[in-house]
Assembly symmetry: C2
Homo-oligomer: 187 residues x 2
DNA sequence: GGTGTCATGTAAACAGTTACATGATTTT
DNA sequence: AAAATCATGTAACTGTTTACATGACACC
């Protein structure tokens, strides 16, 4: 899936500038791109060329002028047919698991320290995700009861990703601490 | 994290050819690269240049000759210091969540169908992961009790990723089916 | 006779990140 | 005086995938 559909989706909710799209994508946990300029401004040019969006330049005093992009009817139908297309399976990148895979050369203390750092890192993501939901400051269209429910469940999904990772590492750490068989150091 | 450390890790367990590395990486759920030639053969050349591995060409009758790569002492110490370095936070890419985010334009039946396909897709990954563990055919060094435990917990982590996604989508689907407030169609 | 395994590599394309560039205004 | 916000864009690089290329043998 390309960033193009993420942009089309946002435009289907509200006309936006590249700058606004960047910010929305940047602090969304679901839309996983970094939200860098290169991708966004290039995609917008492409959407124009494909006739999926139009833009309108608005000049401003005391601020740079901006281009407000609006989705077209073709854009809406392209978006709709994409939402109906076969879903891609979920993927993860946990480089920490590869790190752990070769961590048997570490001493018990070194390993526990490593797990501690990971626990903290994951814990802080978990906390930030909870805060975002609690404050309700996340970008979230709520046009129908169903849409509201869907967006709640999307945030719930992200939350449970971090929660289960956090529980997993805490449990692993505890087990390593409590079982003396794991404390033998390799020659 | 680059594929370089995944390769160094495997080499720290057993000397291997590029072809063998490719297969191990390809069917590992943890090492998330596609295992394509380009990356592997280039990385091996680089590891040689950095003195982290050496190779030995073995000519074979009735099969192409192969290059067996062996990790060096510097390679081992590089690997060790990497395992001690600050872990990266876990990441996910679930393009399906973005798809769902804009799915309120779909009819209840279309949405249920979409969720059904995702449920099946995730279910089959979950099943394959369980089978891999059950058959015990996954690549897994078991040199000490601790290493055995670590690799078990790594597989457990992958398993629970798919399991919680599966439970999430089943629950979402059921709720949408049971609550009539979600069955109103937008004008 | 076609497909699969063993085994190495290259070319081209696409996706994604970081950093650069400009410039006014507002906040600390 | 420095940093952040608004706003658009480009350049260079890295990472990743798909496809191409070769060739022998084994299995169905």
């Amino acid at each position: 899936m390309s960033i193009k559909f993420a942009i089309l989706g946002i435009l289907s909710f509200q006309p936006s500038t590249g700058y606004e799209l960047k910010k929305i994508i940047e602090d969304s946990s679901v839309m996983y791109w970094s939200g860098n300029n290169n991708q966004i401004y290039k995609s917008l040019v492409q959407l124009l060329a494909e006739g999926l969006a139009t833009n309108e330049v608005r000049h401003q005093e005391s601020a740079p002028s901006k281009k407000i992009y609006t989705i077209t009817a073709e854009g809406l139908s392209e978006l709709r047919s994409w939402t109906l297309s076969a879903p891609e399976p979920p993927e993860f990148k946990k480089s920490f698991l590869t790190q752990l895979a070769w961590a048997d050369r570490l001493s018990p203390d070194e390993l526990d320290g490593l797990l501690g750092i990971y626990e903290e890192e994951v814990g802080s993501r978990l906390f930030m995700q909870q805060e975002k939901t609690r404050r309700g400051d996340a970008f979230a269209p709520k046009r129908t009861p169903r849409e509201t429910y869907l967006w709640t469940m999307i945030e719930e999904n992200v939350h449970s990703f971090y929660l289960s990772e956090w529980q997993w590492v805490r449990n692993l750490r505890k087990e390593l601490q409590n079982n003396d068989a794991f404390k033998e150091v390799k020659p």
